[in-house]
């Protein structure tokens, strides 16, 4: 199998495959004509990479999984190093989700506060004689 076919079967591009190879992640055999040659095993390695990439793993983080597969283990996550990456990623995700949730709550609070301020100003304008009318906003 040549690079174009492998890329198509894995749903990626030849450019990505050459990039992985340049990172030492997915080395290729060469045919007599200089073309890269791959087999079904390479497809499995590549699928492992793509799966993890889709999960948001960095390329470097996929390396233990790929090496685990290449070492003959039945799955990319059959090795301790892969499990360590899983755990680290889980911790990262938990932390990130927590931060994002805090930001979201903060933004929501700001939005609600700003909407209340707007509505109060509108109420003042609509029904004059209210409490101490400010005049900064009337552009």
């Amino acid at each position: 199998m040549r690079i174009g076919e492998l890329a198509a079967r894995a749903g990626t591009t030849t450019r990505a495959l050459r990039y992985y190879e340049s990172r030492g992640l997915l080395p290729a055999r060469r045919g007599s004509n200089g073309y890269r040659t791959y087999d079904e095993r390479d497809l499995r390695l590549l699928q492992q990479i793509r799966t993890l990439q889709d999960f948001g793993f960095d390329l470097e983080e996929t390396r233990p999984f790929v090496e685990c597969l290449r070492a003959g283990h039945p799955a990319g996550d059959s090795c301790p190093a892969s499990l360590a990456v899983y755990r680290r990623k889980l911790a990262e995700l938990d932390a990130l989700i927590g931060e994002l949730a805090a930001v979201r709550d903060g933004v929501r609070a700001q939005l609600e506060r700003a909407e209340r301020a707007r509505d109060e100003l509108a109420a003042e304008a609509g029904a004059p004689g209210g409490p101490d009318p400010h005049c900064e906003l009337g552009g």
Copy 2:
């Protein structure tokens, strides 16, 4: 106030300020010597930018807030355009958090599955005569 002092007071760098200026976000007056000159109002604009940046807003997303302040409104989020950015950001955050939570759950499931597989193999090795011993992993 010159650029260094403003940067220090806002907890950022002169490089960032020049960058904001290059984006048209925080234009500066110039003194007779060509130095940039800022006042307290610029500090407030800058603080608005930094606050939103810390919340993960893109620079472009801070623009409505800055323009709102510059238009004389009491707060950066006193304008409809700012509220729209808040709402868009909220939706983005909710979507992102949801995706990340899904990824986290997926990773967790994978981790637990891999750990079970590992433990089962260990149990087989430790206590032979178990259920149908596979032999793929024993490198």
